[in-house]
Amino acid sequence: MRGHSLTQQRPNPYVPHEAVIVRRVQESKTIFTLYLRFTDPVAHASYTYDPGQFNMLYLYGIGEVPISIVSDPEHEDLLVHTINRVGRVTRGLEQLREGDRLGIRGPYGRGWPLRDAEGQDVIVVSGGLGCAPVVSVINHMIRRRERFGHFTIVQKVKRVDEFIWPERYERWQKVPDTTVLVSSTEGSANWRWQVSGRIKVLDDVVVRSERTIAMLCGPGGFMGSAAQHLVAKGVPAEAIYLNTERNMQCAVGHCGHCQFGATFICRDGPIYPYPQIRHLLAVEGF
């Protein structure tokens, strides 16, 4: 953690800091959001991060898990994590309630290129439940709407019940100069968005010029196909950014689990420019 510890010159990056759950919101059957505050006021005040970076969350007696930060560093005092209940640690975190304590260390990794995106058209594409990390990006841009060109938000799910924040997408639809495209492979009676397979929804994305930046989040194969499609539509490959994920234990580039080509995702990612990982995206089991 940057500039925190008062007792050591270089704080030990492995040791978490205690935080308390100030608020808890159940977003869907499996997804919940924790609003957190470091119990040490100095730690809380000096903690800074960029959108797209992540923290290691520690559940007492169980272990750690990497979770991206979804709060807006300039607008929110609390640290916000939206978590999908999928594994051992997240199932445990789901049991925690307001007032409960956990451990946090971070922030880690490289975030989204939001500075570079200013003055450009922006396309945000997410696939499946990978949408939580991009929600923070979307909120960031909507709050600073005048700094960006045309804004396109694409969300692709396989089944309609994977689309967990319909009211947000409806709200974003009303933002000026913003296009919202939502598609599900399987439709349903009340589904008011598109029904289309694979990445067909991207056909509706309009790329006005090369001054366009794209940010992608979702499964590797999905992002690979989407990136190819966007390049074909005229988005420069180097202006496409992908949010990757792998097993992570240490988050500081030491434990080797997130090794990806010549990089560690915890340190060199999780956000990568497309050309840096293009050769590995399509390789099964890499």
């Binding site: 270089r10 030990n12 990056p13 492995y14 040791v15 978490p16 800091h17 205690e18 119990t39 520690y58 007492y60 007696g61 169980i62 272990g63 750690e64 999908n84 999928v86 594994g87 997240t90 007032g99 409960d100 304590r101 956990l102 451990g103 994920e245 792998r246 097993n247 234990q249 240490c250 500081v252 580039g253 030491h254 434990c255 080797g256 689990h257 090794q259 080509g261 010549a262 340190r267 050769h279 399509a282 390789v283 099964e284 089991g285 890499f286």
Partner: protein, 370 residues
């Protein structure tokens, strides 16, 4: 670097001198049919008159003719466990009455340690682990403390095993860097040379005499013969492009048909650094030791991510290991991650030979590119 000669009977004096400054001395000794590095008090504990025979999937000690103490190539482990501990506690968490969680940094208390008998391959391995743990954005204080406590007495390898290929990686058979004192063993004693000031201080405290030209020539000849005697080699110093151009090669399937995915190779490798973390709570739940332990990219858990395993088959795991070890290490650390020690060949239960696999993979056709 000038050489001095220490008679065989005076080796104990070196051990005594190293122990004087509250150091523990670690050195090779025979145990359960292999050579291990452990606490050493007497020169007579060294593996005198012991030779080794190594081949793919096989390691045996045999009695040798001379009284030499270092006439064997490496056993399964040497330096790595001393700096990168197989399992250690990183921090402790304590839960209070009202559910508060307190974190306590548990830095190891490290005893200054001298290691005798370190080979060129392991010095190269140590240098790579130093880069990984100490010279990145974050310093690993656990590794770093142990590393800083080491005093290293290296040994030039005069009798490589059939599995050795350090001459082809450029890391042996002689020790060239990263030690305080190096010794070359002759029948009558040892030629010593110092690399550091404290190494020179050690030599100054010993009853040495200037080495004769004949002795220096004899040691150099043995080194040259040791290099020439090596039967194995990698098909090039930098295989990065060749391997990454063949990620879809059928050779990965071929080796996966034999590989047991047991992780022996990664355990004995002096450069493999993967580790996992875990929690060990006390029975009353009031305290938790958060530890790390060696992990291997050959386990399913290594690539587990929320409900699925990215590298679900041995083909993907062997490819991950080899393309990293011989390929992307170059970009990450400026050289290959292989130091030619040959341990992964000898300790593989089915005798998979990294030099043969690398050769077979890079000999194949590159992948078709879209």
């Amino acid at each position: 670097m000038s050489h001095v000669f220490l008679a065989r009977d005076d080796l104990q004096r070196m051990i005594d001198a190293l122990r004087r400054e509250h150091r523990q001395v670690i050195g090779p000794q025979v145990r359960e049919g292999t050579i291990v590095f452990d606490v050493l008090e007497r020169a007579s504990q060294l593996p005198s008159g012991v030779l080794d025979e190594q081949s793919p999937g096989r390691y045996r000690l045999v009695a040798g003719g001379s009284a030499r103490c270092f006439a064997w190539a490496n056993g399964a482990q040497a330096l790595k466990p001393l700096t990168f501990t197989p399992r250690e506690t990183l921090w402790r968490a304590e839960r209070g009455e009202r559910g508060e969680v307190r974190f306590v940094d548990t830095q190891p208390v490290v005893q200054p340690t001298a290691v005798i008998g370190v080979r060129g391959c392991d010095l190269a391995g140590l240098q790579l682990q130093d880069q990984h743990f100490c010279y990145g954005d974050y310093v690993d204080s656990y590794y770093n403390r142990r590393r800083r406590s080491l005093f290293i007495v290296a040994v030039d390898c005069a009798r490589p095993a059939a599995t050795c290929f350090c001459a082809s990686t450029g890391d042996g058979p002689a020790a060239s860097a990263g030690f305080d004192v190096a010794l070359a063993e002759l029948d009558e004693g040892f030629l010593l040379r110092a690399k550091s000031d404290r190494g020179q201080e050690l030599l100054d405290a010993l009853p040495t005499v200037p080495a004769s030209a004949a002795q220096i020539e004899q040691a150099a000849r043995e080194q040259a013969e040791a290099a020439v005697a090596q039967q194995r080699s990698l098909p090039g110093r930098n295989l990065r492009d060749a391997l990454f151009a063949r990620l879809e090669s059928d050779s990965w399937k071929d080796v996966a048909d034999r590989c047991l995915s047991c992780g022996n190779c990664t355990s004995v490798c002096p450069t493999c650094f993967c580790h996992s973390e875990g929690d060990l709570p006390t029975p009353d739940g009031r305290q938790v030791d958060h530890y790390r332990q060696w992990d291997s990219c050959f386990t399913p858990g290594h690539s587990y991510i929320h409900g699925w395993v990215i590298r679900g088959s041995t083909r993907f795991r062997y490819r991950q290991w080899l393309t990293h070890k011989l390929g992307s290490w170059h970009e990450q650390y400026g050289r290959s991650g292989c130091v030619g020690c040959g341990r992964c060949i000898a300790w593989c239960p089915v005798g998979i030979d990294i030099t043969a696999e690398a050769r077979s993979i890079v000999a194949g056709e590159p992948d078709a590119r879209p």
